[in-house]
Amino acid sequence: MNLPPFEHFYEEHREEIYAFLVRRLGLQRAEDAFQETFLKALRAYPNLGHGDHLRAWAYTIAGRVAIDEHRRPRADADLPELASLDGRPAFAQLEHLADELPPTERAAVVLRYGYDLDYAEIGVALGSNATAARQAASAGIRRLRRKESR
């Protein structure tokens, strides 16, 4: 797929990326993170070369921005909203549990079961491939099951 004009990419992904950032950071911090995410995307956009896996790519950037935001202490930070309010209660549990997984497994589990990306997309998001993404997700799930049964 050819790389579409940026406006198209932005219109298509802004709402879900914003919702993702609100879940991760709360309303107030999500606004700055939203702007930063799409400015980063805009800088890197022409170098993509093709328009495949743009959704996973957007989530990857947003995920990194969210992590950076988390590390930055803020006195005025509002509490993140309850994730169960966004209509994904299963994901709320998952994200909490997945917090303790190694980073690659965590990303694979969250992108697969939280955001419903397929393994090819997750592979791109992780900088590997579909097979590695599937392995990371199932390793993560096994680890969660072990933890649950303890």
């Binding site: 579409p4 940026f6 939203f34 702007q35 022409p46 966004d86």
Partner: protein, 187 residues
Amino acid sequence: MNAVSQELDRRFRDAAASAHLLDVAYDFVDSPIGSLFVAATDRGLCRVVYDAEPEQERERLARVFGVRILRSAKPIDPARRELDEYFDGKRHEFDLPLDVGPLADFYRRVLGELARVPYGEVVTYGQLAARVSRPRAARAVGTVMNRNPVPIVLPCHRVIGASGKLVGYGGGLERKEALLRLEGALL
């Protein structure tokens, strides 16, 4: 459900333009002859389009100028202001820098001559052809007019047939007539 507010959306679009990250910014400008799709690069105005299909225009612009295309009001404000003044009858010449992309030599010369046709006056296709030393190329001049990337600003509406008929216009003859009437070239 939390949605991206208009304010947040506008802030991002402004920031993208201020950081000079866009190949092309565009917006719609209201006018008495309909909404105009107006696009600009950092170097100047690149398109004015009647009855635009935004998606199609963006694709075309991407092929010429690059994929970083975003609707953003601020970079279009200078053109908006001058077009408003023009339609109010207060402006007879545009001071906007142009960046219309690569053009064949003949196109460049014809559009250069077109830019010199004054407000309120008309020339014929043949006269314009003669001014670029191609007196028999009236028809080719018509083609250039039809593909004018920045109508109104480059005044292809001031070019008419030898018989005095308006002949044709990319935006439709009604618009050509309206523009000439505005300029007092038609009674």
